[in-house]
């Protein structure tokens, strides 16, 4: 177990509220961000609170195979999935095919032009804060298959390292990178459909 995590676990098991505040402040935002992308808005608060209760009641069994913060996110992900299953919430089918193969000809050229967006991307930094783009992107992210949505949310929205996101999802680093690339590519395609000039 990582030294910092071992100290934190010991303090938490002793009921140290300051130690808990340290942990929760570092994890609450990615946890809430992840859960918000998986369950209905009405269920977010319950799932987050249930995550903390599960973390605390399982803490004595934490083996340190991943970082403590990653373990919290794993529990949140599992609880969010369980809530969706019991609510019968439908998830888009996952696809493991390479994305957008139909966009290319047999010799690997674009089969149709990549359309310009109504929002100029000449300066990506500036375009990235455009309100219209963000609204379309928010919607597109919600429509990604679950694994891609989780990977993109953890890495690109919440700023986790790909290695950490791979641990949360229980996949190898290489698989995570593929899932992440496919998710990003699908989001760009979706934005092209929403924002592309006709």
């Amino acid at each position: 177990m990582h030294d910092d995590d071992a100290r934190l676990v010991t303090a938490l098991l002793a009921g140290d509220e300051a130690a808990f505040t340290t942990l929760s402040l570092s994890v609450q935002r990615p946890l809430s961000g992840l859960v918000r992308r998986l369950v209905s808005e009405a269920a977010v608060e319950d799932v987050v609170q249930q995550t903390w209760l599960t973390v605390l009641s399982s803490l004595a069994r934490f083996e340190g195979r991943s970082r403590l913060s990653t373990w919290v996110l794993q529990i949140g992900l599992n609880l969010a999935r369980a809530v969706n299953r019991s609510a019968g919430r439908e998830e888009p089918l996952s696809d493991d095919e390479a994305p957008a193969e139909e966009r290319f000809t047999a010799v690997g050229r674009w089969s149709q032009p990549v359309r310009e967006w109504v929002v100029s991307t000449d300066d990506p930094e500036r375009a990235a804060s455009n309100r219209q783009l963000l609204t379309a992107l928010d919607r597109a992210l919600q429509e990604l298959p679950e694994k891609q949505r989780v990977a993109v949310t953890l890495c690109d929205v919440e700023g986790l390292l790909p290695r950490e996101a791979a641990e949360v999802l229980g996949v190898e680093d290489g698989s995570l990178r593929v899932v992440l690339h496919r998710g990003r590519t699908k989001l760009r395609e979706s934005l092209e459909r929403s924002l592309g000039r006709v």
Binding site: S24, Q49, F104, W110, V114, T121, V152, D156, V157, T185
Partner: protein
């Protein structure tokens, strides 16, 4: 990077490897081929800008940091009482 015969660095190759083109683990020749491809291919140039914009924009979807973790603290105090 997936390899095509070097003379035929395609749009598909570029779209598949867009994140790795600046990566130092990619052979220099492939990086140069990617950059050269972008100089003449308007579609790929547009694709790369849109891809970068998409990734940058995702950071803006992060919710503001909570000032207080009330729900977390409520859970902690409930657990401590029971423990």
């Amino acid at each position: 990077m997936e390899h095509s015969p070097l003379m035929f660095f395609t749009c598909r190759d570029l779209a598949r490897n867009v994140e790795r083109l600046e990566d130092s683990t990619v052979p220099v020749l492939h990086r140069w081929l990617g950059r050269a491809h972008l100089l003449w291919c308007r579609n790929c140039s547009r694709f790369v800008k849109q891809y970068r914009t998409t990734v940058l924009a995702l950071k803006h979807l992060q919710a503001p940091a909570p000032e207080q973790n009330l729900s977390a603290l409520v859970a902690f105090r409930a657990w401590r009482r029971r423990a």
